[in-house]
């Protein structure tokens, strides 16, 4: 029984709910996706295929899901949290047995009509289950060790499964996303200080043991770190991505070379031009103004989410809204850091812009939850 249920009568019902959606966020999501379509059209050399058109179809599907989820009361979704989490973990386990392998990573389950990436589902279900956990947990127990260990396990189980795929980028996002929910729920600062300290120690250890039989990371992961630290050291090999990406960004200048005029992507100097590195094409063609505008749109979405969360008196709703915002933030922050040479290349897409079905659908589902929380907030 939650506080929420006493106010149900004030919550809008039926199609009337549509008026109570957070339309600003929906428009922003559509704008960002629109930029994505433009860029996919551009990197395909001015063609709707092979990327822009499928991406638009997925967006339409995702938007449908968003509206559907938004119409369903948030407490229903809270009750579904544990189930969603369970299904995600089961799918992640399933990947290990039935998954298909692309580029050395086992991440996908072939559903026949599309390839599902369970790790994407895990991102959203993890936030749901943690939000539900802290909604359920007595607030005074929040920082007690036993009640801290439980969410930690909830985070680490899917993380471990994702890491063995291997998919370092998603693993980092899962840990960071989960950690942010714990932080928001009010877990003591001391735990975070301890974890940060431990991570720093672990990083030291990782490098200390490099080259020995006990090294923690795979060689390619070490190399990625090396080239991150000094991309110029291997411009045609491991550093190629970052170097070419920085060239594309830098050659954009203030206003860019103009739509479809970017040479780096069109001439295939850019790797992964339609997925992880699509931001570089935007930056090359629309310059600093274009790139900064996209950053601004993302920031506005987050600002609207935080505002919505702060107005929401329901604990689950607040946490899920903030969690969705944090997920979006982590996506674009890691992706942009990566293409601008501030972080290692870990394979995180630019949310709603990069080509990819699972990521877009999951994000729109997440925002469906955010909208549901917004519509059904206690008044």
């Amino acid at each position: 029984m939650s506080y929420l249920e006493h106010n149900v009568k004030t919550v809008p019902t039926g199609l009337h709910k549509i008026l109570y959606l957070n339309w600003a966020v929906i428009l922003l999501l559509a704008s960002v996706s629109g930029i994505g379509f433009l860029m996919l059209y551009s990197v395909a050399g001015g063609s709707m295929t092979p990327w822009a058109e499928p991406q638009m179809k997925r967006f339409a599907l995702g938007m449908g899901l968003l509206f559907f989820i938004a119409m369903v009361p948030i407490w229903f979704w809270r009750n579904m949290s544990v189930l969603a989490y369970g299904v995600s973990v089961a799918l992640l386990l399933g990947v290990q047995f039935f998954g298909t392998t692309h580029m050395g990573a086992k991440r996908w389950i072939d559903l026949g009509f599309m390839e599902l990436q369970p790790s994407e589902l895990a991102k959203i279900s993890l936030i749901m289950v943690l939000a539900a956990y802290y909604d359920w947990l007595d607030i005074r127990k929040t920082s007690r060790p036993i009640w801290v260990i439980i969410p930690l396990l909830i985070i680490l189980i899917p993380t471990a499964l994702v890491l063995i795929q291997p998919d370092l980028g998603t693993a980092i996002l899962l840990v960071a996303g989960g950690g942010i929910i714990m932080f928001l729920a009010g877990v003591s600062w001391l735990y975070f200080a301890a974890v940060i300290g431990a991570v720093a120690g672990a990083i030291t250890a990782v490098f200390q043991f490099r080259g020995t039989d006990w090294q923690f990371l795979k060689d390619y992961q070490y190399r990625r770190i090396d080239t991150f630290l000094d991309p110029a050291s291997d411009p045609l090999g491991a550093g190629y991505h970052i170097t070419q990406s920085k060239i594309a960004l830098g050659s954009g200048g203030w206003t860019g070379r103009g739509f479809m005029q970017g040479t780096q992507a069109r001439l295939n100097f850019l790797p992964e031009k339609h997925t992880d590195f699509i931001f570089t094409t935007l930056a090359e063609e629309f310059g600093f103004l274009g790139a900064f505008s996209l950053l601004g749109l993302y920031t506005l979405i987050i600002v609207f989410c935080i505002t919505s969360a702060l107005k929401n008196k329901d604990r689950f709703a607040s946490l899920i809204t903030l969690g969705v915002a944090a997920t979006l933030f982590l996506f674009f922050a890691v992706n942009m850091s990566m293409v601008m040479g501030l972080a290692p290349v870990v394979g995180v897409p630019l949310p709603l812009v990069s080509y990819g079905g699972s990521a877009m659908l999951v994000l729109l589902i997440a925002f469906g939850l955010m909208q549901s929380a917004h519509v059904h907030r206690p008044r």
């Binding site: 029984m1 939650s2 506080y3 007595d138 607030i139 005074r140 942010i180 932080f183 928001l184 729920a185 009010g186 070419q244 920085k246 060239i247 594309a248 960004l249 830098g250 050659s251 954009g252 200048g253 203030w254 040479t263 780096q264 069109r266 001439l267 295939n268 100097f269 930056a283 090359e284 310059g287 600093f288 790139a291 900064f292 950053l295 993302y298 920031t299 987050i302 600002v303 935080i306 969360a309 702060l310 008196k313 604990r315 607040s318 946490l319 903030l322 944090a326 933030f329 922050a333 942009m336 850091s337 601008m340 040479g341 501030l342």
Partner: protein, 639 residues
């Protein structure tokens, strides 16, 4: 269980606090991203834009047309010939084997060339054109063009290659070009990117090599956009190159042809120089070779044949061959003695066949002796003993100084791979280079052009021209560059006593015009074209047997220098026939024929020859394998 309202409020406050903190952190991070964006895109924009252009823009060189070379009358000597080749692009061809088979049916391709092309195709990306057949005839290309629809991926291309229509005649002067190789790149400090083009032709020897920069021209460029794997996307712009400068040589191709033909069969060299301007009208060196063979890479067998030929066809003997001048040097000794005032025209020296100096006996070539000889007769009869006496009177330093004024020891600035310096020895030279004191015997040897004295046929010709005119004539090979005349150098008065010069010239006149002169048999009849000359026989090793009794390479070198007409000198000629025996017999007739050819501008009338020789000479002249001037013109039209 319902949470207490207090707890809920506390929870709200906590979430708000944390959310605001998190939001602030996120904003800070967004700020950092924005700053980084600004740094890369605005502050570093210029640098990165340059890198992006470097990425995508490739510069392809367009080789310029090499400058042409003409003779003094505008006859082409080195031209550019269009050659055709066929390239194949794998991805356009589809079934490569099928297309190649069809092509082979039209144009037979040598198996090894085909194998190389197929090998290269496998190695390169599928869009790179690979040359499959080279140096094709126009007919072959036409055949391929007609059948183009059946030959996907096949493109006929046109290029330029060097051609020498005069073949052997100018092998030593113009030299040849060849594909640039590693040795060339290491040898010359030349940063011209053209040299990086595979099979780009550069001058290897001769004028082609020495005036490489002039002839090469400037590369044009084509800016093309390429993608990450190097495929050409489009042409962004092109800048045409500048063709190399055309050269005009001072050589007369007709005379050159005659000289080469006249020297054929001997290992010989001849130089014809204009006594007034210093223009080199002909530079003969035999045997010669066909420079066209070198252009596309000479076969090992042909090259070995050239290397093993004992007559040494490769070096230009007229420029880099150095020989003891023998008796042709006597003019130097005579002039040195006259200028020093140690002899007069009346002074006589008694020649009894030898003279004893310092306990050694020095022989005259005429063992019986010449009797009393004055300067005039000493030249006419080439008496050695007279010059032994002059050497003692004048001393070697004066003789050598005189020789240097006439060009000995001077490396003339002729654009050839190797131009000999020769030597007019001095006491200091011997001490330094041989580590021995100069002895009187050295002076005696030097006085008759033996011993240490060395000169090239070019220097001999220059010496003769200077004697004939009394002017410091300087040889010149390049008449004009791209229509701009190369200035004539030298020609200053040599500041010699005209009477002394006249005395020497009279002696030389007697050599080839007065009965008893050593080259009387090679005289020219007809007053306007009288020839003055001097024979020379330079010893190869010491011997007392006759030349005809020893092996070819041990025989003496035959030399002759001459100028004509005697009254109004226009040309000077020097001839060296290696191991030819005596100068009067082997060299003088050649020089006489060359002089006549040069003065008449073609075959001379028989009246120029002494009656007794006319029939024989006419037969010989007709037998010479001369180039038909009309045929030459036709061939050059095609080129």
């Amino acid at each position: 269980m319902r949470p207490a309202a207090k707890d809920t409020a506390e929870s709200q406050r906590r979430i708000t606090r944390r959310a605001l903190f998190l939001g602030a952190s996120q904003l800070a991070f967004v700020g950092a991203l924005g700053a980084r964006m600004r740094y890369l895109q605005v502050d570093q924009a210029d640098q990165y834009r340059l890198l992006a252009d470097e990425n995508r823009i490739n510069i392809r060189l367009l080789p310029p047309a090499r400058g042409l070379i003409y003779d003094r009358n505008g006859v082409p000597l080195a031209t550019n010939k269009q050659v055709y080749r066929i390239t194949i692009v794998r991805e356009d061809a589809g079934d490569v084997d099928e297309v190649v088979a069809r092509l082979n049916a039209l144009v037979p391709i040598p198996p090894e060339e085909l194998e190389r092309a197929l090998e290269e195709m496998k190695r390169r990306s599928s869009f790179v054109p690979v040359t499959i057949a080279d140096r094709l005839k126009w007919e072959d290309i036409a055949e391929v063009a007609v059948n183009a629809p059946a030959l996907p991926g096949i493109t006929p291309e046109v290029g330029l290659t060097r051609n020498y229509p005069m073949a052997n005649d100018f092998a030593h002067i113009i030299g040849y070009v060849g594909a640039v190789n590693k040795a060339d790149l290491n040898r010359v400090d030349d940063r011209d990117p053209l040299l990086q083009i595979p099979r780009f032709q550069i001058g290897k020897i001769g004028v082609e090599a020495k005036l490489e920069r002039t002839l090469r021209g400037k590369a044009g460029t084509k800016r093309i956009e390429v993608n990450a794997v190097g495929r050409v996307m489009r042409e962004l712009g092109r800048e045409e190159g500048i063709s190399g400068a055309n050269l005009q040589l001072t050589i007369d191709s007709g005379l050159q042809n005659y000289v080469q033909a006249r020297l054929a069969g001997e290992s010989a060299a001849a130089v014809v120089i204009d006594t007034v301007t210093g223009d080199l009208l002909a530079i003969g060196s035999t045997p010669a070779f066909d420079p066209n063979k070198f252009v596309n890479g000479i076969s090992q067998a042909d090259y070995n044949a050239l290397l093993e030929n004992k007559y040494r066809p490769l070096p230009n003997k007229a420029m880099q061959g150095i020989y003891p001048p023998g008796s042709t040097f006597k003019m130097m000794t005579a002039l040195a003695a006259l200028e020093a005032g140690v002899v007069t025209s009346e002074d006589t020296v008694k020649c009894k066949g030898y003279v004893e100096v310092g306990g050694r006996r020095f022989h005259c070539w005429k063992r019986a002796g010449h009797g009393n000889v004055n300067l005039h007769n000493s030249l006419k009869k080439s008496c050695d003993v007279f010059y032994y006496e002059m050497a003692q009177r004048a001393g070697v330093e004066r003789i050598s100084a005189m020789a240097r004024r006439f060009g000995f020891g001077t490396k003339f600035d002729i654009p050839m791979s190797s131009v000999a310096k020769g030597l007019a020895p001095t006491k200091a030279w011997k001490l330094e280079n041989r580590g021995a004191e100069w002895v009187i015997g050295d002076s005696l040897n030097a006085s008759i052009g033996q011993g240490f004295v060395l000169s090239s046929p070019l220097q001999q010709a220059v010496m003769t021209a200077r004697i004939a005119t009394g002017k410091a004539v300087i040889p010149r090979l390049i008449k004009s560059i791209d229509g701009v005349d190369v200035p004539i150098e030298g020609g200053e008065d040599m500041d010699l006593n005209e009477n002394n010069l006249r005395l020497v010239r009279k002696g030389m006149f007697a050599v080839s015009n007065v009965s008893g002169g050593t080259a009387y048999r090679s005289r020219i009849l007809g007053d306007e074209y009288r020839m003055a000359g001097k024979t020379g026989t330079s010893q190869v090793g010491n011997k007392v047997v006759r030349n005809s009794d020893v092996a070819w390479e041990k025989r003496d070198h035959a030399l002759f220098v001459s100028y004509a007409p005697y009254d109004n000198p226009r040309i000077a000629v020097s001839v060296v026939v290696e191991h030819g025996g005596g100068g009067s017999k082997a060299a003088a007739p050649i020089a006489r024929d060359i002089v006549l050819q040069a003065l008449y501008g073609g075959l001379p009338p028989v009246s120029a020859y002494p009656k007794a020789d006319r029939w024989r000479i006419q037969k010989e002249q007709r037998a010479l394998p001369l180039r038909d001037p009309n045929a030459t013109a036709e061939e050059s039209d095609q080129a």
